[in-house]
Amino acid sequence: MGGLQKKKYESGSATNYISRNKARKKLSLSLADFRRLCILKGIYPHEPKHKKKVNKGSTAPRTFYLLKDIRFLLHEPIVGKFREYKIFVRKLRTAYGKAEWGAVGRLKREQAFVQIGPHHQGEFTCFESSGFSSRSFILWGCHVMNERLKPENLSDKRYPTFIDALRDVDDALSMCFLFSTFARTGKCHVQTIQLCRRLSVEWMNYIIASRSLRKVFLSIKGMYYQAEVLGQTVTWIVPYQFAHDHPTDVDYRVMATFTELYTTLLGFVNFRLYQTLNLVYPPKLDGQGELSLKSECEEDYALESESYSEKLSALSASLARTVPSVEEEEAELDHFPAEGEDLEKMEAREKIELEQNKQKKLFEGLKFFLNREVPRESLAFVIRCLGGQVSWDKSLCIGSTYDETDETITHHIVDRPSIEKQYINRYYIQPQWVYDCVNAKMLLPVEEYFLGVTLPPHLSPFVEESEGDYVPPEKLKLMALQRGEKPLFTEAAAEEEEEEEEGDEDEEEEEDEDDEDEDDQSEEEDEAEDEENLAEMEAKRAQGKRLPVKVTPGKVKPENRMRTEQEEKAEEKRLAIMMMKKREKYLYDKIMFGKKRNVREANKLAAKRKAHDDASKADKKKKKKKC
C-alpha cells in the first residue's frame, strides 16, 4: 500500500472553517471590534454541515466562520484602522491617567486630523474622533469609534446595484424609524438619533412625493407600512410615539453598529430616490412665501437652527424640485397584441395599474383637520401620500396650513367620544377611517367611523386569503364594496330590525359565495346534478310511453349558453377524473379532500361567528330593554 497515511483534520471541512476566537486572533482584533467589522462588511457566521469534523472531534457548540471570509477580511485596510484606533485609545488612556493634558490635546488633535495621504485618498477608510470628549471617553471607553464607512465599499461590494440596496432597505428603515424615536439619553449618541430622524423624514417625504404608499396596518406592536418603490415592495415598521421601554437583553452596541451601516445605506438610497423624482436633495420645501407668512408662531416652537428640519418633518408642505414640476402625463401601458394567458396577464396588470392610480389620488380634493389627540405624524403622512390636504392646530406642531375654522375642511379626525363645537359641513370621523381607506383603495362610507361609534375591526391588509379560507364578514363586505355593489349599511344608527335584515343578507351573500366555491371544486355536486339530469330523462321517457300521443308545437327553448358551457365543463372534468390513473386519482382525491376540509372549517367558523353575533345582538337587545 503506497502513499502516506492521511492525517485527521488536515483537509476538508475542518480546514474550511475557522472558529470565531481564532478568526479574532488572526485579525488581532478585540471581540467587539471583530463584531463591528463583521457587521459592517456583511460577514455572517456559518453553521458547518459536519460539526464534529470541523470542531476537531469535539461537539461543543461554537461559532464558526468560513475561512475564506476571514481571509477576505484580512485584506481589508479597515482592519489596520481598527488597530490604529486601538493604539490611539491606549495612548489617550495613559495620558489621562498621568494627567498629561498637553499630551491628551496633542493626541486628540492628531487623531482628528488623521490625514489621508495623497496616494491613499479615497482608498482607505478614515477614523476620526470628532466629538471625542473626555466625558465620552469615560462613558464609552474604547468602544466609541466613529469609523467612516467608505461609501464606495458599500456600493461595489455590499450593494452592487441600486436595486440590491433597495431590497435591503426594509431593515434600514425600521432601524432608522426606531432609533429616531429614542429619547436622547445615554443609550446611544444624540447625533445618531438626529441623523436617523433626518433620514426617516426624508424617506417619508419621498413616499409622499412619489405617492407610493400601498398598505398600512396598525398593530399592537407598531405601525406597519408598505410602499412600492421602483417596483420593489418595501415594508417597514414604525413604533408608536412614547412607547419605549429599553429592554435589557438587547445588545445596544450591536444595534448601534447596524444603525451606522443602515443610516449610511439609507442616506445614499434617499439621494438616489430624490434624484429619480427630480427633487432637491437635501430636501427643500416648496413655496417659500407661504412659509414666511407663518413665521410668528414658529419662533416659539423651535430654535432657528432646527425650525427648518422641524418644518420638513411636519410633512405638510411639498418639496422643491430641481425641474419645475410639469403636470404628470398619465403613462399608459403599451399595448401589444397578445393571446391566451398573456392577454389575461396583461388585463390583470392593467387593472392593477388602474387601481393604483385610483389609490394615489384617493384623497385628492379632501381637506383634513387633525385634532390634537390623534397620532399626527402618521396621519399626516398617510393623508399626504394619497393626495389630501392636512392641517392641525397651530399650537400642536409647526407647519399647520389652515385653521380649524376653515369652512372648506371636509373631514375632521377626532379620537374622543364627543366634541363640543361641531361644524355642520364636515365629517367628524375616527382615525381608523383613513387607514382603512388606504387598505381598501377606496373611500369607505364614513358612517361606520363617526364620532363615538363602535368601530369595525381594523383588518390586516397583509393577509391574502387563498381559496376556501375563512374570510371575516367585514372583509367580505369590503370586497363587495370594492366590486361596486351597493353598500349594505346606509345609515349608521340603523334600527335593530334593519340590522337583522342586513345580517341575513350577509349570510346569504356568504352562502352564495360558498356555493360558488363549491361549484368550482366539488365533484360531488356535479355527480348529483348528473343524477338529476338522468332522472329527468327517465321521467321524459316515461312520459313518452303514455299512449295518447300528441304532437304539440315545439317551444323554442331559450338556450342558456352559460349553463350549457358549465355543463360541458363539468362533463369534461368528470371524464378527465374517470380517465385518471390510480395514483393520480388518489392524489386528486386527497387534494379535493383537503379543499373540502378547508371549506368545511371556514363554514364552521362562519357559523360560529354568526352565533357570536347573534349572541351579542341578543345581549344588546336585552340591555336596551333594560334601559
Binding site: K68, L149, L218, R272, S460
Partner: protein, 461 residues
C-alpha cells in the same frame, strides 16, 4: 600703630584729596601704645594690623560717591560753586505758577514714596542674569543655518505648508478636508451607484505588491443567510382593533405555545424530582421491627441453577472428525455449490420471462429515489428559513405579542403598545442568521464576598 599712622599719612598725602568729614585727620592724635606681637604668622597679621584709617578713607570715598556722584576733589569748580547774583526768587516765581497749575493735588508724591526713593547717586548694578538668553548660542546657530538655507531657497516645513495652504485657499480648494463623522446629522450624500470612481492610475503590479490593491469582494458574501423577510408582519389578530376570530386565533396560538412550555417545564421537574419515599405507617412499622422478625432466606442457588441451564456454549471436548466424515462433508459442499450455480443459470434464463416485472421494479426504484430527492430538496428548502445553530445558544422563538380581549383598546388614543420593537429587530437579526444568538453577559464576581460582624453589632447581641 606705625602702619596705620603711615597709611593715614599716605591717604592724607593723596594729591588733591578732600575728606568730606573733617575728623579724618583729627583722629591721629589718640595713638595707642604699640603692642608687640610676633608677625611671623599670617593670622597675627590680620589680627593685629590696624586698618581703620584705610577703612575710614574708603568709607569717605564711598560716601562722596553716593552723595555727590563722584569725588569732590575731582569735581570742577563750576559744579561745586555758583555766583550768587540775588535774582533767585524771581526765577522761582516764574517757574512755580506753571507747575502748580499743571500739577494738581494728586501729583504730590507720598512721603513714604519719597523715603523709599533711593538717594544714592550711584546707579544700581545691573542684574546680568536677567539679560541673559538661554540657549542663545544654539539659537544663534539655528537662525544662522535658517538664514543660510533661506538664501539658498529652501524654506522650513512650516513655512512651506503655510504657503501651500494659502495657495489652496486662493484657488478655492481647501487643502485639508476634515473627515465628517459617520453619525453627523448634517453629513452629505451623493449618488453612490453612478459615481465615477477615478480610474486607477497606478501600476496594478505595484499596487498588488505593496498590498494597496483591494481584494474583490466574493459574490458569495452578497447572498443572504436566510430566506426570511426582514419584516415579518404580525398576524391579523395583532391588529389594534382586531376581527374577533383572527384575534381568537392568535390567542389560541399563544396559548398553545404557553402550554407547550409548561409541559416541558413539568416534564423537567418530574425528571429532576428526587425519588424519596415518604414515610408511611407501613414503612415506619417495618423500620421499628427491623431485625426482630426472622425472614425467610432467599435461596441464592436458584439463579445459579438458572444460569447453568441457559448456558449454551460449545462443548469443550469435540471429537476429531474421521477421514470419511471429512470427505463426505467436502462432497456435500461441492454439491451445494454446483446446485447453486445451476440455480443461477436457470434463474438467469428465467429472468428473460420476468422482464416486465423487472422493469416495473426498476421503475419503482427510480420513482422512489425521485420521491426521496424531492423530499430532501423540500427539507433543504425548509431548512433555509430555519434559524441555524450558530453558537452556544439556540435561537428560541420569542413569545407572541398578544393582548387579551379585556386589554384591547377601543380606540387608537387609548392603545397600549405591546412588546418592544427594538427587541423584535434584534431577534429578527438572530433569526435570519445575521448574528449569533447571545445572552447578556452575567456579572461575575472576581473575589468572594467576605462577611464580618461589626463590633457594635456583636456587642448588642
Amino acid at each position: 600703630m606705625a602702619a596705620a599712622w603711615r597709611h593715614k599719612r599716605v591717604a592724607a598725602s593723596q594729591p588733591g584729596f578732600l575728606p568730606l568729614k573733617s575728623n579724618l585727620g583729627g583722629d591721629s592724635s589718640n595713638v595707642k601704645r604699640r603692642k608687640r606681637v610676633n608677625k611671623n604668622k599670617k593670622k597675627s597679621w590680620n589680627k593685629f594690623s590696624d586698618i581703620q584709617d584705610v577703612e575710614e578713607f574708603l568709607e569717605d570715598v564711598r560716601l562722596q560717591e553716593r552723595t555727590t556722584g563722584g569725588l569732590i576733589a575731582e569735581k570742577t569748580d563750576d559744579s561745586l560753586f555758583f555766583v550768587d547774583t540775588g535774582d533767585k526768587d524771581e526765577k522761582d516765581k516764574d517757574a512755580q505758577p506753571e507747575t502748580t497749575v499743571k500739577k494738581g493735588k494728586h501729583s504730590k508724591p507720598l512721603r513714604i514714596d519719597l523715603i523709599l526713593q533711593p538717594d544714592s547717586h550711584i546707579p544700581a548694578p545691573k542684574n546680568v542674569l536677567a539679560f541673559q538668553q538661554p540657549n542663545a548660542k544654539k539659537q544663534r546657530r539655528t537662525s544662522d543655518r535658517a538664514a543660510k538655507l533661506a538664501s539658498m531657497g529652501i524654506l522650513p516645513r512650516r513655512e512651506k505648508l503655510l504657503q501651500l495652504r494659502r495657495a489652496a485657499a486662493a484657488s478655492g480648494v481647501s487643502a485639508k478636508k476634515r473627515a465628517v463623522a459617520n453619525n453627523n446629522p448634517d453629513r452629505t450624500f451623493y449618488d453612490l451607484w453612478t459615481a465615477e470612481t477615478a480610474p486607477e492610475t497606478a501600476d496594478p503590479y505595484y499596487l498588488e505588491q505593496t498590498k494597496k490593491k483591494l481584494v474583490k469582494r466574493p459574490d458569495r458574501l452578497n447572498e443572504k443567510p436566510s430566506v426570511l423577510p426582514a419584516i415579518e408582519v404580525i398576524a391579523p389578530g395583532g391588529s389594534y382593533n382586531p376581527d374577533f376570530f383572527s384575534h381568537q386565533d392568535l390567542l389560541r396560538k399563544a396559548h398553545e405555545v404557553e402550554v407547550k412550555k409548561i409541559k416541558a417545564e413539568e416534564k423537567l421537574a418530574r425528571q429532576l424530582a428526587v425519588n424519596e419515599d415518604v414515610a408511611t405507617e407501613e414503612t415506619t412499622f417495618k423500620e421499628q421491627v427491623e431485625g426482630l422478625i426472622e425472614e425467610e432466606e432467599i435461596e441464592p442457588e436458584e439463579p445459579e441453577g438458572d444460569t447453568e441451564g441457559t448456558v449454551t456454549g460449545p462443548t469443550a471436548t469435540q471429537e476429531k472428525k474421521t477421514e470419511k466424515q471429512r470427505k463426505k462433508e467436502k462432497a456435500k459442499r461441492i454439491k451445494e455449490l454446483q446446485r447453486k450455480a445451476e440455480r443461477q443459470v436457470i434463474d438467469k434464463r428465467q429472468q428473460l420471462f420476468q422482464l416486465r416485472s423487472i422493469s416495473a421494479d426498476l421503475k419503482k426504484q427510480e420513482q422512489r429515489t425521485k420521491m426521496r430527492q424531492a423530499q430532501r430538496k423540500a427539507q433543504q428548502e425548509a431548512q433555509k428559513s430555519m434559524p441555524r445553530r450558530l453558537g452556544k445558544l439556540k435561537f428560541q422563538d420569542p413569545d407572541l405579542d398578544v393582548q387579551l380581549s379585556n386589554e384591547l383598546a377601543g380606540s387608537l388614543r387609548s392603545l397600549k403598545p405591546e412588546g418592544s420593537i427594538l427587541k423584535d429587530r434584534f431577534l429578527s437579526l438572530q433569526k435570519r442568521n445575521i448574528i449569533e444568538p447571545r445572552d447578556r453577559a452575567k456579572f461575575k464576581r472576581k473575589y468572594k464576598l467576605k462577611f464580618s460582624e461589626k463590633r457594635a453589632f456583636r456587642e448588642i447581641q
